[in-house]
Symmetry: C2
Subunit: 323 residues, 2 copies
């Protein structure tokens, strides 16, 4: 900037004014400065700018589990769209469901002085963020609640959705329903399993541990679990898959066997309507989840010290069972 000022024969401050499009600068000086900027290939250093002017790095951090998962990719997209409306960019970091990594990444993002944080938590304890929040970095949690910290949160109605899914299968007359879930360690899985059990209990069905399969990490494992359940005595006549990766594996195995068991899957996915079996899903609006979280974050950035809010978004059953 000093060079530009010298080149244009004006003071450093005038260059600053021109670069920041401040009013009240003679057109002639503006032109001279811009010419010098062009000639010297000057680029304003936003780090220095942010450092001096207090805060506002125009950057927000997004912490998710895994960007290659379409659910998180959608969240990243919407968050970036909302951020763009506030002239901000997104630093996206993936925790891979590892609480240690999560904490390191969140601390790193804070050290970079992001204006705010959008977090899908992996761990159980986020009290380490309290210092940062008090120092003025707003945090909004989405999809899962924070642990040990009162903060803005946007969630899905996992419990209600799971209830609706099981009730749908009960309504079709099923009495033995296999439930498959990723990991009981994940909040959304616990909620969905809870909702399913509520519906099963309300229908007067006894708890049967053979009909609940935990630790189903991917489609292949799901297919194996289905095979095992079907080969056991008194097999299920329907399956409730608690996420879409599991759903795909269930469908694959049933199709492979020409089985006529019914399937309801939690989470819709892009090609669900092209699956070789009729498939009913519990759908929700991922974009809306991200939009609400991002807008809440920017509201907090603009105006702090509001009471934390928790928003719960509805799910809906999409019946593709009639084919």
């Amino acid at each position: 900037m000093v060079d530009v000022a010298r080149h244009a024969g004006v003071s450093l401050k005038t260059v600053s004014r021109v670069v920041n499009k401040a009013p009240n600068v003679q057109q002639e000086l503006v032109d001279r400065v811009l010419a010098a900027v062009d000639e010297l290939g000057f680029r304003r250093n936003q780090l220095a700018s942010a450092l001096r002017s207090g805060q506002q790095t125009s950057t927000v951090g997004l912490l998710i589990e895994e960007i290659a998962n379409p659910f998180y990719a959608t969240i990243a997209q919407v968050a970036a769209e909302v951020a763009a409306g506030f002239d901000s960019l997104l630093i996206t970091a993936s925790s891979e469901e590892d609480p240690v990594r999560e904490e390191r990444l969140l601390r790193d993002l804070c050290a970079r002085r992001v204006d705010g944080l959008l977090v899908v938590p992996a761990g159980y304890d986020h009290s380490f963020l309290r210092a940062e929040v008090e120092q003025g970095i707003p945090v909004v949690f989405l999809d899962r609640p924070a642990g040990g910290l009162v903060a803005d949160t946007v969630l899905l109605d996992n419990r209600g959705g799971a209830r609706a899914g099981v009730e749908h299968l009960l309504g079709e007359g099923h009495r033995r329903i296999g439930v498959l879930l990723d990991s009981i360690g994940v909040y959304t899985m616990r909620e969905r399993l809870g909702g399913a059990q509520e519906a099963l209990g309300a229908a007067g069905l006894p708890y049967d541990s053979h009909l609940v399969c935990d630790g189903v990490r991917d489609p292949v494992t799901a297919a194996q679990a289905v095979a095992q359940m079907l080969d056991a005595p008194d097999p299920p006549t329907a399956f409730f898959a608690l996420n879409n990766r599991i759903t795909v594996g269930v469908v694959q195995e049933l199709w492979h066997r020409n089985s006529t068991a019914s399937v309801v899957g939690f989470d819709d996915f892009e090609l669900s309507h092209l699956m070789p079996l009729p498939l009913t899903v519990i759908a929700y609006d991922t974009r809306e989840l991200a939009r609400q979280a991002a807008e809440l974050l920017f509201a907090r950035i603009a105006k702090q010290n509001l009471w934390p809010r928790t928003v719960v978004l509805p799910t809906r059953l999409v019946n593709r069972g009639l084919r």
Copy 2:
């Protein structure tokens, strides 16, 4: 940091040394400083650190078209993995295929003093980046080449893949092959179309404009285009879809009609093996594409002024036609 120094009864510089884990500091002072850091909730400001120490923001920029597209999400994931190995985070920005947006975002990333740039270009002219490159921000282009700028580039063998796809259909005896593409404005589409035409020409087939459909943006448009081609006189007996969104639309329409036309699609996708029709695809290793680009970028960041390289990665035909 001043506060911490006062609190610990040491100089500012000693705090800096401790925070940066510099050697040659008495253990007693280290302990006192760390205690003060904890007590005051001190967090090193990485902006100030980067500003003073010259460069190294430990941040790289990734410019893609659309993060919700699984192809780009995979690139973002791998880039983040490689970056993590160099203690760096990723700022991901989406141009939405808009060259104006692309230029604004790239300039913004440079203003934030990212250490390097990973770019899937949308526009044709990237000469505006020359100044930044000369100022020491390395840039690696991937999936598509840069315009008006000599730079490191990692590409796929689009042309060879398309040739192989068409040759596969010719080998099955097809002589009327419908080709559907997104937009001739996109580099990869031009290359793939070029490869397809090379194979068709080599087989002695005349050019027939009715068999090439441009502007197929999404599965619905693809389905409509297929319907129109099939309803025309002398319809195609096979289709070559130049990307996976088109492939999905083609499959959907053929399945809907119980058509027995063959399909080859460029790009593999997650559920391609569960499609209701036999589907052969031209696959490639997206992770490898991103890995090579990211590692090249970090090599350039570590050691500049090397001659720009262009790497072309192979594609392979995955035959799922026998079902």
